[in-house]
Amino acid sequence: MIGGGLLHYWVVIALMMTGLYTMIARQNLVKKIMGLNIFQVSVILFYVSLGKVAGGTAPILKELAPGEPAPLYSNPLPHVLMLTAIVVGVAVTALGLALVVRIRAAYGTVEEDALRKLDEEERAERSTGGGA
């Protein structure tokens, strides 16, 4: 059902790896969310490429002149699905950013290593405080 070579796969995989790497390697929570976005976009592109039919046009029905062959349409379903996926992605991003705002208010930083250190200090304090 899909045509073309494998180029779109490579693009998708490159984007996916970029996103994953950003999530793994970056300490800044906002950057992590950006990585997450890139990761999700790669999947959206993957779906869009699934729906692409070589030589197909946008799937908009039009009045056919008598004798005119029906045009080759792209598969619209993956595209429609991606509308939902984009909505999900937006919701995740929004919620993630909202959490970052709250984290910033509660901790005063959005760097993962600083957060970890703050939590560790707090725990150490509590355990020594509890022991005394």
Binding site: L29, P78, T84, A85, V92, L95, L99, I103, A106, G130
Partner: protein, 490 residues
Amino acid sequence: MTHLPVLQIALPLIAAPLCVLLRHARAVQIFAVLVAWACLGIALALLGAALPGGAISYELGGWPAPLGIEYRVDLANAFVLVVVSALGAVVLPIGPGRRGHAVPPRREYLFYASFLLCMAGLMGVAITGDIFNVFVFLEISSLAAYTLIALGRQRQALRAAFSYLMMGTIGGTFVLIGIGFLYQMTGTLNMADLQRLLPAVQQSRSVHAAFAFLTVGIGIKLAVFPLHQWLPNAYSFAPPAVSAFLASTATKVAYYLLVRLAFGVFGTAYVFGALGLGALLLPLALLAMFVGALAAIYQSDLKRLLAYSSVSQIGYMILGLSFGTATGLTGGLVHIANHALTKGGLFLAVACIVAQTGSSALSDLRGLSRRMPWTFAAIAIGGLGLIGAPGTAGFVSKWYLVLAALSAGRPEVAFAVLLSSLLAGIYVWRVLEAAWFRDPVQSAPRGEAPLRILIPTWVLIGASLYFGVFTEWTAGIAEAAARQLLEGAP
């Protein structure tokens, strides 16, 4: 009656924004609780309708499958629906917690709205027969869960929610990729249709990749070892009611989904015969059982201890799945209900403790059993359930797992199950020891927890005892559901 399947989802889904409109804390609470109980009623009605053995199919908007979205209720998912809605109905009345929590009373309606959304999402995953719909509901429930977890009273709850969000989204996206591959190979999203079309293309690498992505993606939501790392923080920093609900339902629904895909969509022969999924899952399950239990032993906080114990219990469920046999699957499915009741009850008991002391650290439990006898009796019974002592629901599950291991010719696995029960005995003992045999600290509370929390706790713990003895509603249904799944009718 004919619209029951859609009502099951639509009711909480519509009720959630209504909560936001209603705003008044008490009114919203009553409304949300009523909705939750209505959901339970619908789920029970659906289970009753599915009991004869057939599947109820409901076509959304009148579009017939495979083009339209189909809701399909058979024994397995009716069973899951009942578990999810029952836990929701029992836990929701507790509310977001009173003492120093992060939700000011005038914003409590948001808690109830999120909770209903989470329920709707989880039930949606179970009920839908459309695989893309599964992804959507999975994300609805996850988004609601992130929100709920962030409501915990410590600031670590925010970090826990954020980590869960990152990991959960990776999992969700993996699922999405898997669905994409499936669609690419078959051109359909309807699960029944997929089951029909897949055998023709199952030798292709895309289908292998689809299954791998789906397994790993669901594995994250299911907290399969070593993808469990979001779970301990999420459960230990969330508000008590949320921990109780999520711990007993979220991972169970993911488990159901994996079972449905493995047995119902891809087919037992393909998944366990050709791909050898069992060889992958069995070591992970064993590792989860032991690492989870060992980690639980070393925790100094009761909620965290229970969270790691969940990792270990999820290991049992995966173990049941990994044999790919009816007995194993029965063990896994029945553990959905049994562990939901036991762990839900235990987390609610923690809610009782937190309501009275403001802490769930083991060192603050010292001598508390004298002040809160009912709460700690519940913890003792629930703990026995985790160990799998006879007479509790946990025994029933372990019984099937041991039986499955033996009939699969793996006595050493059966032995491992029993051995990890001993580990469970140790961490349960740590709790009981602190509560029973230590002298109370000065700041110990005056008395028993409020009935508002204590009654739901005992409802769940009592149910776990009941189902430890009378098993036709748990093991009986699970067995029939497992048979239905294995025979291949989705």
